[in-house]
Symmetry: C2
Subunit: 556 residues, 2 copies
Amino acid sequence: MTTDLAIARQARKLPIPEIAARLGLTPEDILPYGHDKAKITRQALAALEGRPMGHLVLVTAINPTPAGEGKTTTTVGLGDALNRVGKRATICIREASLGPNFGMKGGAAGGGRAQIVPMEEMNLHFTGDFHAITAAHNLLAAMIDNHLYWGNALGIDSRRITWRRVMDMNDRALRDTVVGLGGPSNGFVRQSGFDITVASEVMAILCLATGLDDLQARLGRIVIGYTADRQPVTARDLGADGAMTVLLKEALQPNLVQTLENNPALVHGGPFANIAHGCNSVIATVAALRMSDYVVTEAGFGADLGAEKFLDIKCRMAGLRPAAAVLVATIRALKMNGGVEKADLAAANPGAVRRGCANLGRHIENLRGFGLPVVVALNHFEGDSDDEIAAVQGFCTEHGVKAVLARHWAEGGAGAEDLAREVVAMAEAGRADFHTLYPDAMPLWQKIETVCTRIYRASHAEAAPGIRQQLEAWEAAGHGAMPVCIAKTQYSFTTDPARRGAPEGHVIPVREVRLNVGAGFVVAICGEIMTMPGLPRHPAAETIRLDADGQIEGLF
Amino acid sequence: MTTDLAIARQARKLPIPEIAARLGLTPEDILPYGHDKAKITRQALAALEGRPMGHLVLVTAINPTPAGEGKTTTTVGLGDALNRVGKRATICIREASLGPNFGMKGGAAGGGRAQIVPMEEMNLHFTGDFHAITAAHNLLAAMIDNHLYWGNALGIDSRRITWRRVMDMNDRALRDTVVGLGGPSNGFVRQSGFDITVASEVMAILCLATGLDDLQARLGRIVIGYTADRQPVTARDLGADGAMTVLLKEALQPNLVQTLENNPALVHGGPFANIAHGCNSVIATVAALRMSDYVVTEAGFGADLGAEKFLDIKCRMAGLRPAAAVLVATIRALKMNGGVEKADLAAANPGAVRRGCANLGRHIENLRGFGLPVVVALNHFEGDSDDEIAAVQGFCTEHGVKAVLARHWAEGGAGAEDLAREVVAMAEAGRADFHTLYPDAMPLWQKIETVCTRIYRASHAEAAPGIRQQLEAWEAAGHGAMPVCIAKTQYSFTTDPARRGAPEGHVIPVREVRLNVGAGFVVAICGEIMTMPGLPRHPAAETIRLDADGQIEGLF
């Protein structure tokens, strides 16, 4: 069997200046990082301003299952296929977090013949963006404790500091810590902790900022905690926003790499898809749109969480208007949504596929609710039977959408040309009439309820009175126009990860709300959300090593 | 007044492939990081094996004072000057730590017309080496707590874990922490803390490793703590060495940049100069020696600490044989060593200069004790009077060494040509007969005493019986052949930073000893050594920002 890694290593990569040239960029427009990675310079980005934008295509998916859906693989395959059918298409995806790769194997960028390379670097340090975010986040943390140490002129209540530290590592022992021990010269003792870097508000900010000025303004608005009389204290109050911006100056420039078929891919930013919006950077997407006929991008998790945030947070803030949505499903994942266990997936079961299509249908309706034309990409696996495929196609026909069989995993872009042609047809027919789910002016609690009832199909959302009072207080303080970002399990429309399919009438309990003024959204936490993972009993790190040729073993 | 930063920004940098070409390297031999930084590939380094080595010149200094000596500036100026007098010379210096730049302004690479560029990047993320070291260090820490969490099969005594975490940030609140709070799912509660990244043993290891295999072997030997019956537990026992090596694969490749005069400089690694050996990497120095007639490098602090460690640790381990030592002094610093306060430095005072020369003379004797020919580089400042200069030259003549006036700060390499010619004369006459201060076979305590009495001119070293027993136990465990690394104030030959000049007959108290099996030395701590700095009342971070042109303000 040929693994993703083996295929990636056989890639015939072009020198990165040649990939840049396909976007109309000169060697001076990029900052190379080795011979196969580059950043697009701030100056080159500025020169793109005012150019017309290509069509933006969102790739999203049914609710994830252990069977795998292949959303990134489809994003890459579709991008390659669009180039094959004569369109200048660029792929925009997120960067990978380094830490989790040392826990479980994984982390590839696509799979099979639909991958982005260099795969290993992209899963390790890449161009250092996440390290820069870690440094900027932790500089602010150091400045908070330093402010307390030197007399606390701002009157920060050390019990009400909400800004923690971050590390790009799975390290459960850092979730809850006490800092400042050891006596007067080490500061004041207080309880705090670490999140993983992708959970940092700085990550979300970097991915939503439109430029250096906007980046600094957003960083300055970060609320790090409160004074004894409950007044917010910001990063700007501490004078940290300028230095944080300096640390992020390089990281704000998007990274250019390539697919196995030598098409351009911008891989930039990677916020959590639960407590944050889970999309690659606005800067990368906008730059790609200005240099391409088509930009294929993806959102985190399934369409209920990922697409909703892409549309209601990223597209709202950046003024983006997607032309079409591609909804990825697999026969295997539909079977699991139809009640089949993972161990039984090998057996053909058209009935279960048909039942699982309820999940697919719900996402189709939801995406249409945003005014987007939808095509279903049926990501083909070898064991899929004709009857099962026919079941999906029948279901989709009944619902007025096409289900296109896509074989990019096995065949690369050539396997997704039908899908590409369908996307082009939808986009060029101008069928999209995009609108967000709710207006800015809607009260925050009503926004939460709208997502819960219209997208998750809950009967209602519920929260303790304190939470609704908190939302009202934020509205009074001028933050009411923000979109909401709901942190919930990705496995179900409900808050119970085991409830697959298309449940409705459930209740969504809102446990906690958080104000991310810098990122510009209010987070509503529904259920347990882990912001610092741990390592498993036998972490991948134990077997990751260099082989005799200096190549990495055990990472994938 | 033209600042270092203004001069650096006016630099007419050559594209980095052109600098590489001066070393005989092709564009494929380097990995560019932008257009003015690159790493030399592992493959290119391997191709250098067996080539003859050029002359290695050590730049060191009298004991540092607040007046400034200009050791790095002289290293750069001498490198430029050697190129001007017809030698192919390469400069090898350390990388800067990011964190401290947000405390105090500073951190340039040289000064005046003797600088290495790009100065800003070198003081921020540069090529990400320190971030990689941080990640590798903290992966090991995460694996330790993870091992405890999953049953502690190795029987680690959680009270005897010596491996802390690191961050490249000045953050005093992290010096002493408690981790693992929050209940069973977060692990076991224990006390720990953070050091700054440059204090990591991983940093020292990276700088002493001769290649990837040696790197992994050294990482594997790191002792992270002890079992209940006091048996050491290593990184290899935890299976962490392979993954740490993978994280450091890119960082092990030396960084190529250039001087203002477009001469090559390798800037690679930066261990602390107290608890570690304070030199740039062996890999960079060896590579530079194989590509150059002359390599000019520097050691940390004054010659008592820095040169001794360079010679007894780095040169011993790597089999390097320096050809000459350049001892940097300034009139101002000699005046301070002669008892003048900083406020009074402007007034000419040949008598104080003469008194301060005692410090210079002591270092000359010490360097000669290693079998090295010595030249004094008198780093010229505008206010230096002729009488003061004559005082130094007279002193040096009496002691049989030349004192060469060097004006590289104002004039670049042209100002240090006399110095370069003297260095060439010493090196080509083959006057060096280098030997380390003590043999490998000497017992550890005797090694400590030898450095204290022969270099610091103490009457003796003293330590509690437990410390000497500890050293004997390490000898019994097979670690007796290691060199010692003494952590002591850099301001004095004594442990009292206020005692300038050339004191003798004092006592050096050894407070603690540490075993760095991976780095391969025993650290003897004499006095308070800070391994995690704090920020000042008004950290530089408060004024660091981008100006309207996107250039960094406030960093220098």
